[in-house]
Symmetry: C2
Subunit: 304 residues, 2 copies
């Protein structure tokens, strides 16, 4: 049994690679909810949905978000009405948000709803929101204080960030299922998700970082920075703007004593010594997913 | 300037007939919100939307609800997820609900949102929700206490009703615009909507019935009961189950001293004397809308 601390795309691909591995262990994902939002009355959980759709084989690999065979009738009608349409919600995707919003209104938790959606879509990874309480990651930027999706989608993360706050984190209660998944797992994996805005909101929920630290010997992290850049998203830029070294070492220093083993890309082999000096075990492999042989190599490195 | 107290389909058709009349006066509709609901996180206002769509020429006359050229992608995906799908929401219709829900979340009132939607869809009737506070019409039935849409849509109004309550009415504040529309109008029209579940929730908002009563001489009501039956919906059955005579006279007795003039169908000419005995002026004409000549005759009777 392994547990993966997960953001969106990078985590979804790692989870898919792990599920495809020979003798894949039962897998749970403790998922970030700091970028969840309520829009048009609907509760939207981008990271949970990205994982759900990817593991169900429904994700659109071309765009990196959204669903295959998606249609856009509602959004085009909403635009005609003059509604807010910068956050693109396809018709198929909307069904997920309608389902979740109704179930939450019924009194179900995000944890319960995630399990229901996973069952409906045939996904066998347990998707565990880190908390059922509201979190909201906000950005201090050159354009003022922005919500996650304003920063990420509306401004295409092309704005200077001077600070990140996970509103709600200090008083959030970790989900018991998420904490158990960290306590019980044979191995805990930190996905190659954005350290600052995908993983850190998970770690900021009281009790979670301590639970991970207690398992340090079994914690394997995959670097999201390869040769100084993030494959996707603003992890590299954010690390630099917030004063961290933009490398796998910078990420390692960011996580500090939570991690036992680092998995870094072959392009970063030069950093192996620096990581070992800091007391980490290190595995060097390809970390660029999407090709079956790469996926298998990375999964083997993480699982071995 | 005329003001029409309005439920859904019957009111929408009357408003359309009035707008098509020669020298049509400026028109405001004071609209029932007792059957509004929140479903899947979305605020849905069936009567406002039926009027909006009908006046925009977008309504589906075949079904009596919903939009022309409607598609059902979201609903079919929601069904596949195991979501609640008994209340059918088309993709085009959903855009209206997303728009409204976001604007309400922004802090706009239903009154403001209705004006925005009317403008977007080119509707020149002012749509005035009777109140911006929540109302919720509930039914005491043989199957227990049901919400409006559970009664109307889920059970196809095929269940015995022993009582109707408009929850929220005693503490609701009438919208100032709706009250003004009653005070200022040259003529106030009570649409041939369901007296018990479309018009009465309007009248139960404190101050509204009194405002109408003060204008009694200028109040013209169109009977929704023709020869003992309602053209559409459960008005006839509800009147009978709740102890009222199922005729235009029964409806007149239900409204009492709010009305000055009754417009009844030619099929009900036999009731003219009984209504005059009760102190009403009476006009007998066709009240079955949908044909241009009928619409013109009814509009003329209401406006003359």
């Amino acid at each position: 049994m392994i547990t993966v601390l997960s953001g969106g795309v990078g985590a979804a691909r790692l989870l898919r690679a792990l599920r495809a591995a020979p003798d894949a262990p039962a897998t749970r994902a403790v998922v970030n909810v700091g970028d969840d939002l309520v829009l048009h009355g609907l509760t939207i959980c981008p990271d949970l949905d990205t994982i759900l759709y990817t593991l169900a084989g429904l994700n659109n690999d071309a765009t990196g978000w959204g669903l295959t065979g998606e249609t856009w009738r509602v959004m085009s009608e909403l635009e005609a009405l003059g509604g807010e349409s910068w956050f693109r919600l396809g018709d198929r995707d909307l069904a997920t948000h309608l389902y979740r919003s109704q179930r939450l209104a019924d009194g179900a938790t995000k944890t319960t709803v995630s399990a229901e959606l996973a069952r409906s879509l045939g996904v066998d990874v347990e998707l565990l929101p880190v908390t059922d309480d509201p979190l909201s990651t906000v950005f201090e930027t050159a354009r003022g204080r922005l919500s996650f999706q304003e920063y990420f989608v509306r401004h295409h993360h092309d704005v200077v960030v001077s600070g990140v706050e996970v509103v709600g984190a200090p008083s959030a209660r970790p989900s018991p299922a998420a904490l158990s998944a960290i306590h019980d797992a044979e191995r805990i994996v930190i996905a190659p998700s954005n350290p600052i805005i995908s993983i850190d909101p998970i770690l900021q929920v009281p009790g979670v970082a301590d639970a991970v630290r207690r398992r340090r010997a079994d914690v394997v992290a995959v670097s999201p920075i390869i040769d100084g850049v993030a494959l996707k998203g603003p992890a590299d830029r954010l690390l630099g703007e917030l004063g961290h070294e933009v490398s796998c070492v910078g990420v390692a220093d960011f996580y500090g004593d939570l991690v036992g083993t680092w998995v870094i890309d072959e392009a970063d082999a030069r950093y192996e010594a620096a990581l070992r000096e800091r007391g980490y075990r290190v595995r060097v492999t390809t970390t660029i997913m999407g090709r079956a042989d790469h996926d298998a190599a990375l999964a083997a490195a993480v699982l071995s």
